[in-house]
């Protein structure tokens, strides 16, 4: 099931599937280490329409809601 990152809740682990954006966006996310097939963990989901906090490759990154909406992810299956 593919959805976007902004819909994820705290504690969920997902795999990035695609970046819904242009060149610029891919680069910005890429340079911070977010690429398709990367696994990331949602530490804090967006509250009050605010930013998300995720952990990827051992680094914590804050993403604005607008950004999170453009990152397609697949939640990790399992309990």
């Amino acid at each position: 099931m593919i959805t976007t990152l902004d819909k994820m809740r705290s504690g969920e682990k997902v795999t990035v599937r695609n970046i819904l954006g242009g060149h610029d966006l891919r680069r910005r996310l890429g340079s911070l280490g977010i690429h398709p097939d990367d696994e990331l963990e949602v530490i804090r989901s967006g509250f009050f329409g605010g930013p998300l906090l995720v952990r990827i490759h051992g680094v914590e990154i804050g993403l604005g809601k607008g950004m999170a909406e453009k990152i397609e992810v697949e939640p990790e299956a399992g309990p």
Binding site: H23, R26, R27, G30, H35, G50, G62, G64, M67
Partner: protein, 639 residues
């Protein structure tokens, strides 16, 4: 010998730089931009060299202005050595930049900083293996404690100027095939641009804006070929070519990481993580943020006040003493008085607040709290067309605008820096707060005064939304790295203090002093009356204030505190209600709240936002002040 420091943000680069840079540190702008880099002549172990600290960049191929500018520096000014410094605990991502740097052909030394942090996270790195795989020396350091720093630069000096030994780690077979096809055609262009052919080829295949533009102009065939090859890659992989290449490089970095590092699995949630849970939580986070800001603000304010009073007293005493010695009506006295006012303004008013502010900010910065604050404030700030990072200059403005404008530098985009500078000058600094208290709270009651603060925030919010309409945000949203907490180091804070202070002394202070002398001269030549008359149509006609107020407003440009002092002098009494009605008091206060920022702030604005930025702020603020004051007047007329 020139050594350049290149690294991703939060890797301890500045700490490393500060730990060796001498007093001959210079801040320069990249030509044609307001982005700065720092350089210094360093003497270490008997050798002397120039050290350049480039802005933190995540990648050589990301589109941010700072990245581009740092990259240009590397290609145009080819340093003799690049020290690639990285946070060893974030090795996997850091290696991506390393791989890109290897592609430039410039001699490279890899510096694994914060190795203690990495060990604590359970990451152990085989440095010999890393050196082997990359082909360049690897030196571990703990910059904040000065460990390994001497060895690092020794190594850098050793390999500087020689041919680069870095290995090129190949991408996937078919991508390499495409690169191989493009390289020969790219050679001539590459030579012209001063980069290795392979690097140019990869950049073109990644559709790098700057390189594509540079090539399209003079080598249109090359661009055509690149376009065709890009299409081929994307057909083959079902994704745009730049995505393919960047993903592969990412994969390479991951693989390299896995080959050279061993990670112990995390057992349980650390104490630090638990703390962060509250610091960043949806409710606790904001409470904590408010608490931090309050403590910060109160501390700065208190320390400042305690330093300010005795200092100003001393200066006052000095002037009195001077007027006893010199003929008070002489020109010499006037000029000297002006000079002293300018000096005392800097020492007595700005510095007492500036110093604790810089220390406090450096502390927050080094501990790692600032990005967390920005994260929390982001959604609120966006409604005003700004970033979470703007919260810092804003809050600081309640103390003094000068350091607040300095703090504006934490934002990466010029547009954000500009909007934040303009808006934060509208926040009432301590001086303006005294005016609010002395004129409004005293004569109209604390509730009205409180309402003024609310009105102020509303006006700023509206101005912010308007500005955003005119200067729309280019970035779709925030991406910010939240670094690990670190223990602040005295050395780093001292270095930052010295740095920022020097900036104020060299830039803003002269403004203050010159302005001071000019105003003293105005007084001497009895031009105050003339000026009042000149401003009367505005002060009296438009705002309905007594015309004597005119010269007060002029002095207020020099220092906001002077507004009050001069008002007493102008009106001939310190009981303002005798000469001014409640309405007039309110109108006056509202106007002084918003109009022209003080000279020191203007000086700082010029440095951060350029002369045009300074004038823009000047005009906009005064206009808003006039409109707001008129609004108040109109309100009174209707009620």
């Amino acid at each position: 010998m020139r050594i350049a420091l290149v690294g991703q943000p939060n890797c301890g680069k500045s700490t490393l730089f500060n730990s060796v840079s001498g007093y001959k540190t210079a801040v320069s702008n990249f030509p044609g931009t307001t982005i700065e880099f720092v350089s210094s002549r360093v003497r270490l172990g008997g050798r002397e060299f120039e050290l350049v600290d480039l802005p933190g960049i995540y990648s050589l191929s990301a589109p941010d202005t700072e990245e581009r500018v740092a990259r240009d520096y590397l290609f145009d000014n080819r340093p003799d050595v690049v020290v690639n410094i990285m946070d060893a605990s974030v090795l996997s991502r850091s290696l991506e930049l390393t791989l890109e740097l290897l592609g430039t052909g410039i001699p490279l030394v890899v510096c694994l900083n914060m190795v203690d942090e990495a060990l604590r996270k359970g990451i152990s790195i085989d440095m010999d293996r890393l050196a082997e795989e990359t082909g360049v020396p690897v030196v571990p350091t703990v910059a904040v404690r000065g460990k390994g720093v001497a060895e690092l630069f020794e190594k850098a000096l050793e390999i500087g100027g020689r041919a680069g030994t870095g290995r090129t780690i190949p991408l996937s077979l078919d991508v390499e095939k495409v690169i191989g096809e493009l390289e020969p055609s790219a050679s001539p262009a590459a030579e012209k641009l001063g980069v290795p052919p392979r690097l140019l080829s990869v950049m073109l295949l990644e559709e790098d804006e700057q390189f594509v533009e540079a090539v399209a102009k003079n080598y249109p065939d090359l661009e055509e070929r690149s376009a065709a090859l890009r299409a081929r890659i994307s057909e083959r992989h079902g994704r745009p070519a730049d995505m393919v290449i960047s993903s592969e490089r990412h994969g390479l970095a991951m693989n390299l990481f896995e080959r050279v590092a061993r990670v112990k699995p995390r057992e349980r949630i650390t104490l630090v993580e638990q703390i962060d849970h509250y610091v960043m939580g949806p409710f606790s986070g904001y409470i904590f943020l408010a608490a931090v800001l309050l403590v910060f603000f109160i501390s700065v304010f208190n320390v400042g006040k305690h330093l300010e009073e005795p200092l100003l007293e001393w200066f006052e005493g000095f002037i009195i003493h001077l007027s006893g010695r010199l003929d008070a009506s002489s020109l010499l006295f006037t000029v000297t008085n002006g000079l002293i006012q300018g000096f005392s303004g800097g020492i007595g008013i700005v510095l007492p607040y500036l110093i604790p502010f810089i220390i406090g900010l450096a502390l927050l910065e080094d501990v790692g709290y600032l990005p967390r604050a920005a994260f929390l404030m982001d959604s609120i700030m966006h409604r005003v067309g700004l970033h979470g990072k703007s919260i810092i200059p804003f809050v600081l403005s309640y103390g003094c605008n000068v350091p607040a404008i300095m703090a504006v530098r934490v934002m990466e985009r010029r547009r954000d820096r500009f909007v934040t500078s303009v808006l934060s000058t509208m926040v009432p600094c301590a001086a303006r707060t005294t005016i609010i208290f002395a004129l409004v709270a005293f004569y109209l009651g604390p509730v009205t005064a409180g309402l003024l603060y609310v009105l102020n925030i509303l006006v700023i919010a509206i101005a912010g939304s308007l500005l955003t309409r005119v200067m729309p945000e280019i970035s779709p949203g925030m991406i910010i790295e939240i670094p690990a907490y670190r223990l602040p180091s005295l050395r780093s804070i001292a270095a930052k203090l010295w740095f920022r202070l020097r900036e104020f002394i060299v830039i803003a202070w002269p403004f203050l002093i010159v302005g001071s002398v000019v105003l003293s001269l105005l007084d001497y030549f009895h031009l105050s009356g003339r000026i009042n008359g000149f401003l009367a149509p505005f002060t009296s006609g438009l705002l309905g204030l007594p015309p004597e107020v005119g010269i007060t407003l002029i002095f207020g440009i020099l220092r906001k505190e002077l507004t009050l002092i001069m008002l007493v002098q102008a009106l001939g009494t310190s009981d303002f209600s005798v000469v001014m009605s409640q309405e007039q008091l309110l109108v006056f206060t509202v106007f002084t709240l918003f109009y022209v920022p003080c000279l020191a702030t203007l000086g700082m604005l010029r440095s951060v936002a350029g002369i045009s930025g300074m004038f823009f702020t000047l005009i906009v603020n005064t206009a808003i002040g006039a409109v707001a004051a008129l609004g108040v007047r109109a309100f009174f007329m209707l009620v």
